[in-house]
Amino acid sequence: MKAATTGTPEEKRAHKPPETEEEKSRNLALIEAALYVAGRPLDLKTLGSIIGIRSKRKTRRLARELMREYRKRNTALEILELEDERFVLQLKPVYSPKVRRLAVRPLLTPGPLKTLAYIAYRQPVLQKQVAEVRGSQAYSHIKHLREMGLIEYDKSSETKILKTTSYFADYFGLSHNLTKMKRQLRRIFKDVSGSGKKE
């Protein structure tokens, strides 16, 4: 228990009576739900917004508790805390080879995937340029890719400039740093096309 003091809303929140067991288990379940549905790393802000808690410290404590619970349970799934204070629920890598073949659906159909690849490679890139190269269907691809959270508009610009999101980087295991990511893409791309083997 902490002594009541006055202060910022953040501090006030911290001094509210400790959450009941019921509240806590509801919050843990909500964090689990969020991580499961997203299938990608989520930051403390996002997790906090789901449970309605603004304190990062408190959210982190809950996420870590869920992580410990998972570890204790000894299951096929694990929760990891990444370096940048993000949490992810994922399959333990050791099970992956055994069950991978059960995944049957692609993230995207070929058309939108091509548009996404082009944006990733040329980013930040004018929407107009994407449409010129990928044809008029590019607009519906862009809409779809934005809805999926794979690309976004550059907010600093008046004209429509596209770039990939951190979710894109997470999905393909690429760097969050744009310059680095492009270098990675170029390098792997050269390796692949250089080997002369294409699907």
Partner: protein, 225 residues
């Protein structure tokens, strides 16, 4: 040579300028035709900018013909009653995570193809404009604009009455209030005039997504008043 796919009905109406002059614009569902056209082009994975241009031009003409008829107080035909049948409530999808099969290798081969498209685009010589002349069916543009001017004055007077005669206060009103008591056809005309006024900066518009009401701010007087 095979006839291009878009010259077949129902799309052909957009490419047959003679017919465009003869038909009743109310009989053409432009939105439907254009999305059909886009879908078809997407399905065939071929982009024909020339055909798109003509389709766009014809659609604009048909829209203009419709607006023109509205200004002449011609009532649009009554909407066809939709067929009624029991529509069940929406199915709520259960949420399940699913591992997807797309890997970085897929991304890279997609990139390879996209870049090939880019190279092709750079190599293609610029094609000559081949748009046909605008159809005669389009009313003379000056007469049309004159009608619009009259319409704007009429609507502006209405707005002034609504804000108590003073346009300098940046008064706020809603579209529904503005057209209260008007006939359906007059509401449509008011809306057209409103769009022109917004484009000229006489009013500012925004729409509340929840109520769908359009809010109007009167920003100043008509030029020359």
């Amino acid at each position: 040579m095979e006839r291009p796919w878009y010259l077949r009905p129902p799309l052909s109406v957009l490419f047959d300028l003679d017919r465009l002059g003869r038909l009743r614009p109310w009989d053409v569902d432009v939105a439907f035709l254009l999305s059909l056209f886009l879908n078809e082009m997407e399905k065939r994975r071929e982009v024909d900018f020339r055909a798109s241009g003509v389709a766009l031009d014809s659609s604009a003409s048909i829209h203009l013909m419709k607006s023109r008829l509205l200004l002449k107080l011609e009532e649009p035909p009554r909407e066809v009653e939709p067929v009624t049948d029991f529509v069940p409530p929406p199915l709520i999808l259960p949420i399940r995570y699913e591992l997807t099969t797309t890997t970085i290798q897929h991304l890279l081969s997609a990139l390879d193809e996209a870049l090939r498209g880019e190279r092709l685009l750079a190599a293609r010589p610029p094609s000559k404009p081949m748009l046909p002349p605008p159809p005669e069916a389009i009313p003379p543009i000056t007469a049309y604009l004159l009608e619009v001017e009259k319409l704007i004055s009429w609507l502006y007077e209405r707005m002034l009455r609504l804000v108590g005669g003073d346009a300098s206060k940046k008064s706020l009103m809603t579209f529904s209030k503005l057209v209260e008591g008007l006939r359906r056809i007059e509401k449509v005309r008011a809306f057209i005039a409103l769009l022109f006024m917004a484009q000229r900066g006489i009013v500012e518009l925004w729409q509340d997504e929840n109520t769908e009401n359009i809010f109007i701010i009167l920003k100043g007087g008509l030029k020359g008043r």
